[in-house]
Protein backbone atom coordinates (compact mmCIF):
# COMPACT_ATOMS: atom_id res chain seq x y z
CA UNK A 1 0.00 0.00 0.00
CA UNK A 2 2.87 2.32 0.86
CA UNK A 3 6.20 1.90 -0.82
CA UNK A 4 9.20 4.15 -0.70
CA UNK A 5 12.30 4.16 -2.85
CA UNK A 6 15.49 5.80 -1.69
CA UNK A 7 13.68 8.20 0.60
CA UNK A 8 16.01 10.86 1.96
CA UNK A 9 15.59 14.07 3.92
CA UNK A 10 18.25 16.68 4.55
CA UNK A 11 17.31 19.54 6.89
CA UNK A 12 18.80 22.97 6.30
CA UNK A 13 21.20 21.59 3.72
CA UNK A 14 23.40 20.08 6.38
CA UNK A 15 21.60 17.55 8.56
CA UNK A 16 20.67 14.23 7.02
CA UNK A 17 17.74 13.07 9.14
CA UNK A 18 16.71 10.24 6.80
CA UNK A 19 19.14 8.37 4.57
CA UNK A 20 17.95 6.29 1.67
CA UNK A 21 14.94 4.48 3.08
CA UNK A 22 13.16 1.68 1.23
CA UNK A 23 9.97 0.69 3.02
CA UNK A 24 7.06 -1.55 2.14
CA UNK A 25 3.76 -1.41 4.00
CA UNK A 26 1.18 -3.94 2.88
CA UNK A 27 -2.59 -3.62 2.93
CA UNK A 28 -3.96 -4.79 6.27
CA UNK A 29 -0.63 -4.54 8.06
CA UNK A 30 -0.13 -3.21 11.53
CA UNK A 31 3.30 -1.89 10.78
CA UNK A 32 5.60 -0.92 13.64
CA UNK A 33 8.14 1.75 12.79
CA UNK A 34 10.78 1.62 15.48
CA UNK A 35 13.99 3.37 16.35
CA UNK A 36 15.73 5.34 19.08
CA UNK A 37 15.05 9.05 19.63
CA UNK A 38 16.16 11.11 16.69
CA UNK A 39 16.23 8.13 14.33
CA UNK A 40 14.06 9.98 11.82
CA UNK A 41 10.69 8.35 12.43
CA UNK A 42 8.66 11.53 12.61
CA UNK A 43 10.51 12.95 9.63
CA UNK A 44 9.67 9.82 7.66
CA UNK A 45 5.98 9.99 8.60
CA UNK A 46 5.86 13.62 7.52
CA UNK A 47 7.24 12.63 4.12
CA UNK A 48 4.89 9.67 3.77
CA UNK A 49 1.88 11.84 4.53
CA UNK A 50 2.91 14.63 2.19
CA UNK A 51 3.49 17.18 4.91
CA UNK A 52 7.11 17.79 3.91
CA UNK A 53 8.87 17.14 0.64
CA UNK A 54 11.60 14.49 0.52
CA UNK A 55 15.02 15.78 -0.51
CA UNK A 56 15.34 12.72 -2.69
CA UNK A 57 13.44 9.52 -3.39
CA UNK A 58 9.83 8.66 -3.98
CA UNK A 59 6.77 7.64 -2.02
CA UNK A 60 4.10 5.51 -3.65
CA UNK A 61 0.59 5.17 -2.32
CA UNK A 62 -1.28 2.32 -4.01
CA UNK A 63 1.33 2.41 -6.78
CA UNK A 64 0.78 6.09 -7.44
CA UNK A 65 3.48 8.59 -6.73
CA UNK A 66 2.39 10.79 -3.87
CA UNK A 67 3.89 14.09 -5.04
CA UNK A 68 1.58 13.89 -8.07
CA UNK A 69 -1.68 13.53 -6.17
CA UNK A 70 -1.70 15.25 -2.80
CA UNK A 71 -5.48 15.58 -2.59
CA UNK A 72 -6.04 11.93 -3.32
CA UNK A 73 -3.54 11.05 -0.63
CA UNK A 74 -5.17 13.38 1.89
CA UNK A 75 -8.55 11.76 1.25
CA UNK A 76 -7.24 8.29 1.92
CA UNK A 77 -4.98 8.64 4.92
CA UNK A 78 -5.55 9.57 8.53
CA UNK A 79 -2.73 10.95 10.63
CA UNK A 80 -2.20 11.48 14.33
CA UNK A 81 0.93 13.68 14.48
CA UNK A 82 3.59 13.34 17.16
CA UNK A 83 2.99 16.02 19.80
CA UNK A 84 -0.31 17.37 18.56
CA UNK A 85 -2.74 19.74 20.20
CA UNK A 86 -6.48 20.28 20.14
CA UNK A 87 -8.88 23.19 19.92
CA UNK A 88 -9.47 22.85 23.61
CA UNK A 89 -12.43 25.23 23.66
CA UNK A 90 -14.48 22.83 21.53
CA UNK A 91 -16.30 19.79 22.82
CA UNK A 92 -15.12 16.45 21.51
CA UNK A 93 -18.13 16.28 19.25
CA UNK A 94 -17.68 19.80 17.87
CA UNK A 95 -14.05 18.97 17.16
CA UNK A 96 -14.97 15.91 15.13
CA UNK A 97 -17.81 17.68 13.32
CA UNK A 98 -15.42 20.48 12.38
CA UNK A 99 -12.91 18.09 10.85
CA UNK A 100 -15.64 16.06 9.17
CA UNK A 101 -16.79 19.23 7.43
CA UNK A 102 -13.24 19.93 6.26
CA UNK A 103 -13.33 16.52 4.61
CA UNK A 104 -16.34 17.72 2.68
CA UNK A 105 -18.94 15.45 4.24
CA UNK A 106 -22.54 16.61 4.14
CA UNK A 107 -24.40 17.33 7.32
CA UNK A 108 -26.17 14.01 7.71
CA UNK A 109 -23.08 11.88 7.11
CA UNK A 110 -21.03 14.21 9.30
CA UNK A 111 -23.28 13.58 12.27
CA UNK A 112 -23.59 9.88 11.58
CA UNK A 113 -19.86 9.34 11.17
CA UNK A 114 -18.98 11.45 14.21
CA UNK A 115 -21.24 9.31 16.36
CA UNK A 116 -19.75 6.15 14.87
CA UNK A 117 -16.13 7.09 15.54
CA UNK A 118 -16.97 8.34 19.02
CA UNK A 119 -18.41 4.91 19.68
CA UNK A 120 -15.29 3.20 18.30
CA UNK A 121 -13.00 5.00 20.73
CA UNK A 122 -15.48 4.80 23.60
CA UNK A 123 -16.01 8.54 24.00
CA UNK A 124 -19.74 8.70 23.35
CA UNK A 125 -20.47 9.62 26.94
CA UNK A 126 -17.87 12.39 26.99
CA UNK A 127 -18.78 13.79 23.57
CA UNK A 128 -20.32 16.99 24.88
CA UNK A 129 -17.59 17.92 27.32
CA UNK A 130 -15.00 20.51 26.37
CA UNK A 131 -11.65 19.07 25.35
CA UNK A 132 -9.71 21.01 27.98
CA UNK A 133 -11.44 18.85 30.54
CA UNK A 134 -10.34 15.63 28.84
CA UNK A 135 -7.65 13.43 30.32
CA UNK A 136 -4.59 12.63 28.24
CA UNK A 137 -5.96 9.24 27.34
CA UNK A 138 -9.29 10.69 26.24
CA UNK A 139 -7.55 13.29 24.09
CA UNK A 140 -5.48 10.61 22.47
CA UNK A 141 -8.58 8.54 21.72
CA UNK A 142 -10.28 11.62 20.31
CA UNK A 143 -7.25 12.11 18.07
CA UNK A 144 -7.58 8.57 16.79
CA UNK A 145 -11.30 9.12 16.21
CA UNK A 146 -10.40 12.16 14.13
CA UNK A 147 -8.06 10.14 11.93
CA UNK A 148 -10.94 7.77 11.14
CA UNK A 149 -13.61 10.32 10.15
CA UNK A 150 -13.20 10.04 6.39
CA UNK A 151 -12.78 6.27 6.46
CA UNK A 152 -9.13 6.26 5.37
CA UNK A 153 -7.42 3.15 4.08
CA UNK A 154 -4.43 3.69 6.33
CA UNK A 155 -3.77 5.62 9.52
CA UNK A 156 -0.38 6.89 10.70
CA UNK A 157 0.05 7.18 14.44
CA UNK A 158 3.20 8.82 15.77
CA UNK A 159 3.66 7.64 19.35
CA UNK A 160 -0.05 7.45 20.16
CA UNK A 161 0.58 6.05 23.62
CA UNK A 162 3.09 8.71 24.68
CA UNK A 163 2.50 9.73 28.28
CA UNK A 164 -0.42 7.38 28.88
CA UNK A 165 -0.81 5.14 31.90
CA UNK A 166 -0.86 1.34 31.40
CA UNK A 167 -4.64 1.28 31.16
CA UNK A 168 -4.59 4.10 28.61
CA UNK A 169 -2.00 2.24 26.56
CA UNK A 170 -4.06 -0.91 26.72
CA UNK A 171 -7.20 0.95 25.58
CA UNK A 172 -5.43 2.36 22.54
CA UNK A 173 -3.97 -1.02 21.73
CA UNK A 174 -7.40 -2.64 21.84
CA UNK A 175 -8.92 0.05 19.64
CA UNK A 176 -6.20 -0.42 17.05
CA UNK A 177 -6.43 -4.18 16.94
CA UNK A 178 -10.20 -3.97 16.61
CA UNK A 179 -9.98 -1.41 13.81
CA UNK A 180 -7.54 -3.57 11.95
CA UNK A 181 -9.48 -6.79 12.42
CA UNK A 182 -13.01 -5.58 11.89
CA UNK A 183 -12.57 -2.79 9.39
CA UNK A 184 -9.35 -3.77 7.72
CA UNK A 185 -7.68 -0.42 8.38
CA UNK A 186 -3.94 -0.53 7.74
CA UNK A 187 -1.99 0.95 10.63
CA UNK A 188 1.46 2.54 10.59
CA UNK A 189 2.58 3.13 14.14
CA UNK A 190 5.69 4.38 15.93
CA UNK A 191 6.21 3.67 19.58
CA UNK A 192 8.95 3.05 22.09
CA UNK A 193 6.86 0.40 23.85
CA UNK A 194 8.40 -2.63 22.21
CA UNK A 195 6.34 -5.18 24.12
CA UNK A 196 3.11 -3.65 22.88
CA UNK A 197 4.45 -3.38 19.36
CA UNK A 198 5.41 -7.03 19.45
CA UNK A 199 1.92 -7.95 20.54
CA UNK A 200 -0.07 -5.98 17.99
CA UNK A 201 2.15 -5.58 14.91
CA UNK A 202 2.71 -8.14 12.21
CA UNK A 203 5.57 -6.27 10.54
CA UNK A 204 8.21 -3.94 11.87
CA UNK A 205 11.00 -1.76 10.57
CA UNK A 206 13.86 -0.62 12.77
CA UNK A 207 15.68 2.56 11.86
CA UNK A 208 18.66 4.24 13.41
CA UNK A 209 20.22 7.58 12.52
CA UNK A 210 18.10 7.73 9.40
CA UNK A 211 19.06 4.31 8.07
CA UNK A 212 16.93 1.20 7.85
CA UNK A 213 18.47 -1.62 9.88
CA UNK A 214 15.83 -4.22 9.17
CA UNK A 215 12.27 -4.62 7.87
CA UNK A 216 10.50 -7.94 8.36
CA UNK A 217 7.58 -9.79 9.91
CA UNK A 218 8.06 -10.31 13.61
CA UNK A 219 8.25 -14.15 13.57
CA UNK A 220 10.79 -14.12 10.78
CA UNK A 221 12.80 -11.42 12.54
CA UNK A 222 12.93 -13.45 15.73
CA UNK A 223 14.02 -16.57 13.88
CA UNK A 224 16.76 -14.71 12.03
CA UNK A 225 18.30 -13.23 15.13
CA UNK A 226 17.71 -16.12 17.53
CA UNK A 227 21.04 -17.70 16.63
CA UNK A 228 23.02 -14.48 16.98
CA UNK A 229 21.59 -13.44 20.30
CA UNK A 230 22.74 -15.86 22.96
CA UNK A 231 19.52 -16.04 24.90
CA UNK A 232 16.42 -18.19 25.16
CA UNK A 233 13.01 -16.98 23.98
CA UNK A 234 14.34 -14.01 22.08
CA UNK A 235 11.80 -11.18 21.83
CA UNK A 236 11.51 -7.98 19.82
CA UNK A 237 13.21 -5.95 22.51
CA UNK A 238 16.28 -8.21 22.37
CA UNK A 239 16.47 -7.85 18.62
CA UNK A 240 16.05 -4.07 18.89
CA UNK A 241 18.90 -3.72 21.37
CA UNK A 242 21.05 -6.19 19.50
CA UNK A 243 20.71 -4.24 16.27
CA UNK A 244 20.93 -0.74 17.65
CA UNK A 245 23.78 -1.58 20.06
CA UNK A 246 25.81 -3.30 17.41
CA UNK A 247 25.59 -0.19 15.30
CA UNK A 248 26.81 1.90 18.20
CA UNK A 249 29.71 -0.51 18.65
CA UNK A 250 30.67 -0.10 15.03
CA UNK A 251 30.66 3.64 15.16
CA UNK A 252 32.87 3.50 18.24
CA UNK A 253 35.33 1.40 16.24
CA UNK A 254 35.30 4.00 13.53
CA UNK A 255 36.50 6.71 15.87
Amino acid sequence: MIKTIGLRKVYNNDYEAVKHLDLNVGRGDIYGFLGPNGAGKTTTIRMLTGLIEPTEGMVFFNDREVSKGKQELKNNIGVLPESHGYYEWMTGKQYLLFFASLYGMNKASRIQRTNDVLEMVDLTEKANIRIHQYSRGMKQRLGIARTLLHEPQIIFLDEPTLGLDPQGQKDIENILVQLNKEQGVTIFITSHLLKDIERICNRVAIVQRGSLLVEDTIPSLLTTYEAMIEKENVNLEDVFFFLTDEKRGESKHDL
Partner: protein, 252 residues
Protein backbone atom coordinates in the same frame (compact mmCIF):
# COMPACT_ATOMS: atom_id res chain seq x y z
CA UNK B 1 -15.25 23.68 3.56
CA UNK B 2 -13.71 27.10 3.82
CA UNK B 3 -16.93 28.33 5.41
CA UNK B 4 -16.43 25.92 8.30
CA UNK B 5 -12.88 27.17 8.75
CA UNK B 6 -14.08 30.78 8.80
CA UNK B 7 -16.66 29.81 11.38
CA UNK B 8 -14.04 28.19 13.56
CA UNK B 9 -11.64 31.13 13.24
CA UNK B 10 -14.37 33.63 14.05
CA UNK B 11 -15.39 31.68 17.13
CA UNK B 12 -11.81 31.31 18.24
CA UNK B 13 -10.49 34.82 17.58
CA UNK B 14 -13.33 37.26 17.00
CA UNK B 15 -16.30 36.27 19.10
CA UNK B 16 -14.07 34.84 21.77
CA UNK B 17 -13.27 36.49 25.07
CA UNK B 18 -10.24 38.21 23.55
CA UNK B 19 -12.06 39.37 20.43
CA UNK B 20 -15.02 40.73 22.35
CA UNK B 21 -12.55 42.49 24.64
CA UNK B 22 -11.06 44.20 21.61
CA UNK B 23 -14.51 45.19 20.35
CA UNK B 24 -15.30 46.58 23.77
CA UNK B 25 -12.12 48.68 23.75
CA UNK B 26 -13.02 50.05 20.31
CA UNK B 27 -16.51 51.07 21.43
CA UNK B 28 -15.24 52.67 24.63
CA UNK B 29 -12.73 54.66 22.60
CA UNK B 30 -15.37 55.80 20.16
CA UNK B 31 -17.62 56.87 23.01
CA UNK B 32 -14.88 58.79 24.78
CA UNK B 33 -13.90 60.56 21.58
CA UNK B 34 -17.42 61.50 20.58
CA UNK B 35 -18.22 62.65 24.06
CA UNK B 36 -15.02 64.70 24.07
CA UNK B 37 -15.79 66.33 20.77
CA UNK B 38 -19.23 67.29 21.85
CA UNK B 39 -18.61 68.38 25.42
CA UNK B 40 -15.09 69.77 25.68
CA UNK B 41 -15.05 73.35 24.52
CA UNK B 42 -11.74 73.58 22.66
CA UNK B 43 -12.26 70.30 20.91
CA UNK B 44 -15.80 71.09 19.92
CA UNK B 45 -14.51 74.17 18.19
CA UNK B 46 -12.93 71.87 15.63
CA UNK B 47 -14.88 71.79 12.43
CA UNK B 48 -16.92 68.72 11.72
CA UNK B 49 -14.71 67.35 8.89
CA UNK B 50 -11.68 67.37 11.18
CA UNK B 51 -13.61 65.58 13.88
CA UNK B 52 -14.79 62.91 11.49
CA UNK B 53 -11.29 62.53 10.07
CA UNK B 54 -9.64 62.18 13.44
CA UNK B 55 -12.21 59.62 14.51
CA UNK B 56 -11.79 57.64 11.32
CA UNK B 57 -7.99 57.76 11.58
CA UNK B 58 -8.04 56.47 15.11
CA UNK B 59 -10.63 53.80 14.37
CA UNK B 60 -8.73 52.51 11.37
CA UNK B 61 -5.36 52.69 13.14
CA UNK B 62 -6.58 50.75 16.14
CA UNK B 63 -8.38 48.25 13.97
CA UNK B 64 -5.31 47.58 11.85
CA UNK B 65 -3.30 47.13 15.01
CA UNK B 66 -5.79 44.62 16.40
CA UNK B 67 -6.10 42.85 13.05
CA UNK B 68 -2.36 42.44 12.90
CA UNK B 69 -2.23 41.09 16.43
CA UNK B 70 -4.98 38.59 15.60
CA UNK B 71 -3.40 37.75 12.25
CA UNK B 72 -0.02 37.04 13.80
CA UNK B 73 -1.57 34.59 16.23
CA UNK B 74 -3.65 32.78 13.67
CA UNK B 75 -1.04 30.51 12.08
CA UNK B 76 1.88 30.71 14.51
CA UNK B 77 -0.57 30.13 17.36
CA UNK B 78 -1.67 26.88 15.73
CA UNK B 79 1.99 25.89 15.41
CA UNK B 80 2.52 26.60 19.10
CA UNK B 81 -0.55 24.62 20.11
CA UNK B 82 0.29 21.76 17.76
CA UNK B 83 -2.97 21.97 15.84
CA UNK B 84 -1.57 23.15 12.50
CA UNK B 85 -0.31 19.78 11.32
CA UNK B 86 -3.76 18.19 11.56
CA UNK B 87 -5.27 21.11 9.68
CA UNK B 88 -2.70 20.81 6.90
CA UNK B 89 -3.48 17.13 6.57
CA UNK B 90 -7.12 17.78 5.69
CA UNK B 91 -8.12 18.46 2.06
CA UNK B 92 -7.88 22.20 2.79
CA UNK B 93 -5.07 23.71 0.75
CA UNK B 94 -2.60 26.07 2.38
CA UNK B 95 -4.06 28.93 0.37
CA UNK B 96 -7.57 28.19 1.59
CA UNK B 97 -6.34 28.15 5.16
CA UNK B 98 -4.89 31.64 4.72
CA UNK B 99 -8.00 32.93 2.95
CA UNK B 100 -10.25 31.49 5.65
CA UNK B 101 -8.28 33.24 8.34
CA UNK B 102 -8.25 36.47 6.37
CA UNK B 103 -12.03 36.40 6.05
CA UNK B 104 -12.34 35.95 9.81
CA UNK B 105 -10.28 39.11 10.34
CA UNK B 106 -12.61 40.91 7.95
CA UNK B 107 -15.55 39.80 10.05
CA UNK B 108 -13.89 41.68 12.90
CA UNK B 109 -13.52 44.82 10.77
CA UNK B 110 -17.14 44.61 9.63
CA UNK B 111 -18.26 44.34 13.23
CA UNK B 112 -16.16 47.36 14.11
CA UNK B 113 -17.64 49.39 11.26
CA UNK B 114 -21.15 48.48 12.38
CA UNK B 115 -20.35 49.59 15.91
CA UNK B 116 -18.87 52.85 14.63
CA UNK B 117 -21.69 53.68 12.26
CA UNK B 118 -24.01 55.36 14.80
CA UNK B 119 -21.10 57.46 16.05
CA UNK B 120 -20.27 58.65 12.54
CA UNK B 121 -23.90 59.41 11.85
CA UNK B 122 -23.98 61.64 14.93
CA UNK B 123 -20.60 63.26 14.24
CA UNK B 124 -21.48 64.10 10.65
CA UNK B 125 -24.98 65.25 11.51
CA UNK B 126 -26.15 68.14 9.35
CA UNK B 127 -23.48 67.68 6.68
CA UNK B 128 -23.32 65.61 3.52
CA UNK B 129 -20.27 63.64 4.66
CA UNK B 130 -21.94 60.31 5.34
CA UNK B 131 -21.58 58.78 1.85
CA UNK B 132 -17.86 59.60 1.88
CA UNK B 133 -17.51 58.12 5.34
CA UNK B 134 -19.21 54.94 4.18
CA UNK B 135 -16.86 54.80 1.20
CA UNK B 136 -13.87 55.13 3.49
CA UNK B 137 -15.15 52.56 5.95
CA UNK B 138 -16.23 49.91 3.50
CA UNK B 139 -13.87 50.39 0.56
CA UNK B 140 -10.68 52.11 1.67
CA UNK B 141 -10.79 50.73 5.21
CA UNK B 142 -11.54 47.20 4.06
CA UNK B 143 -8.75 47.33 1.49
CA UNK B 144 -6.26 48.53 4.10
CA UNK B 145 -7.36 45.96 6.66
CA UNK B 146 -6.97 43.16 4.12
CA UNK B 147 -3.52 44.42 3.13
CA UNK B 148 -2.13 44.65 6.64
CA UNK B 149 -3.80 41.44 7.81
CA UNK B 150 -2.30 39.47 4.96
CA UNK B 151 1.13 40.80 5.92
CA UNK B 152 0.54 39.66 9.50
CA UNK B 153 -0.59 36.26 8.20
CA UNK B 154 2.52 35.91 6.02
CA UNK B 155 4.81 36.40 8.98
CA UNK B 156 2.64 34.19 11.12
CA UNK B 157 3.17 31.49 8.52
CA UNK B 158 6.89 31.94 8.05
CA UNK B 159 7.88 32.41 11.67
CA UNK B 160 7.48 29.81 14.38
CA UNK B 161 6.32 31.96 17.26
CA UNK B 162 3.39 34.30 17.66
CA UNK B 163 5.64 36.79 19.41
CA UNK B 164 8.09 37.10 16.53
CA UNK B 165 5.32 37.28 13.97
CA UNK B 166 3.66 40.06 15.92
CA UNK B 167 6.87 42.05 16.34
CA UNK B 168 7.75 41.95 12.63
CA UNK B 169 4.19 42.73 11.54
CA UNK B 170 3.81 45.67 13.87
CA UNK B 171 7.17 47.10 12.78
CA UNK B 172 5.89 47.26 9.23
CA UNK B 173 2.72 48.96 10.35
CA UNK B 174 4.71 51.48 12.39
CA UNK B 175 6.88 52.34 9.41
CA UNK B 176 3.81 53.25 7.39
CA UNK B 177 2.77 55.46 10.29
CA UNK B 178 6.06 57.38 10.53
CA UNK B 179 4.73 60.50 8.76
CA UNK B 180 2.13 60.95 11.49
CA UNK B 181 4.86 61.58 14.04
CA UNK B 182 6.78 64.05 11.93
CA UNK B 183 6.36 67.78 11.61
CA UNK B 184 5.44 69.22 8.24
CA UNK B 185 9.00 70.33 7.46
CA UNK B 186 10.47 66.96 8.33
CA UNK B 187 8.01 65.29 6.00
CA UNK B 188 9.56 67.14 3.11
CA UNK B 189 13.00 65.53 3.39
CA UNK B 190 14.66 62.20 2.64
CA UNK B 191 13.34 58.94 4.02
CA UNK B 192 10.35 60.59 5.62
CA UNK B 193 9.32 62.05 2.28
CA UNK B 194 9.64 58.63 0.71
CA UNK B 195 7.32 57.06 3.25
CA UNK B 196 4.99 60.05 3.13
CA UNK B 197 4.55 59.60 -0.61
CA UNK B 198 4.26 55.81 -0.66
CA UNK B 199 2.66 54.88 2.66
CA UNK B 200 -0.85 53.59 2.05
CA UNK B 201 -1.95 54.98 5.39
CA UNK B 202 -0.68 58.46 4.58
CA UNK B 203 -2.29 58.25 1.17
CA UNK B 204 -5.68 57.32 2.57
CA UNK B 205 -5.55 60.11 5.14
CA UNK B 206 -4.37 62.66 2.65
CA UNK B 207 -7.12 61.86 0.17
CA UNK B 208 -9.69 62.09 2.92
CA UNK B 209 -8.43 65.55 3.73
CA UNK B 210 -8.45 66.46 0.06
CA UNK B 211 -12.06 65.41 -0.15
CA UNK B 212 -13.38 67.08 2.96
CA UNK B 213 -11.26 70.20 3.22
CA UNK B 214 -9.59 70.90 -0.11
CA UNK B 215 -12.69 69.67 -1.96
CA UNK B 216 -10.71 68.03 -4.75
CA UNK B 217 -12.47 66.09 -7.51
CA UNK B 218 -12.81 62.35 -7.98
CA UNK B 219 -9.88 62.02 -10.35
CA UNK B 220 -7.42 63.66 -7.94
CA UNK B 221 -8.67 61.43 -5.16
CA UNK B 222 -8.24 58.35 -7.31
CA UNK B 223 -4.68 59.32 -8.17
CA UNK B 224 -3.95 60.05 -4.54
CA UNK B 225 -5.28 56.62 -3.63
CA UNK B 226 -2.83 54.75 -5.89
CA UNK B 227 -0.47 53.76 -3.03
CA UNK B 228 -3.41 52.20 -1.18
CA UNK B 229 -4.31 49.97 -4.09
CA UNK B 230 -0.74 49.14 -5.08
CA UNK B 231 -0.06 48.11 -1.49
CA UNK B 232 -3.24 46.03 -1.48
CA UNK B 233 -2.38 44.16 -4.65
CA UNK B 234 1.20 43.58 -3.53
CA UNK B 235 0.37 42.42 0.00
CA UNK B 236 -2.45 40.14 -1.06
CA UNK B 237 -0.75 38.55 -4.04
CA UNK B 238 2.50 38.01 -2.18
CA UNK B 239 0.68 36.40 0.72
CA UNK B 240 -1.36 34.14 -1.56
CA UNK B 241 1.76 33.18 -3.50
CA UNK B 242 3.77 32.54 -0.37
CA UNK B 243 0.96 30.58 1.22
CA UNK B 244 1.19 28.08 -1.61
CA UNK B 245 4.97 27.77 -1.56
CA UNK B 246 6.04 28.12 2.04
CA UNK B 247 6.64 25.21 4.37
CA UNK B 248 4.08 25.94 7.08
CA UNK B 249 5.92 23.79 9.56
CA UNK B 250 9.25 25.49 8.89
CA UNK B 251 11.02 27.58 11.46
CA UNK B 252 10.35 25.03 14.17
Amino acid sequence: MIYELVKKETKEHIFSRKGIGFLFIVSILLSIMSFGFISVKELSLLDQPSIVMTTFKLLLGINILISMVIGSTMVAGEKEKGTLESLLLTPLTKRKIIIGKLIAILVFWLTVTLISLPYFIVLSNGTSMLPTILFYLYVVGTVLVISFSSIALIFSTILASTKNAMIVGLMIFLITLVPMFLSTTMKKAGFAKLIQSYSPISASMKTMKDLFINKLGALDILVGMVPVFVFFVLALSVSLLISKKVDFLGGE
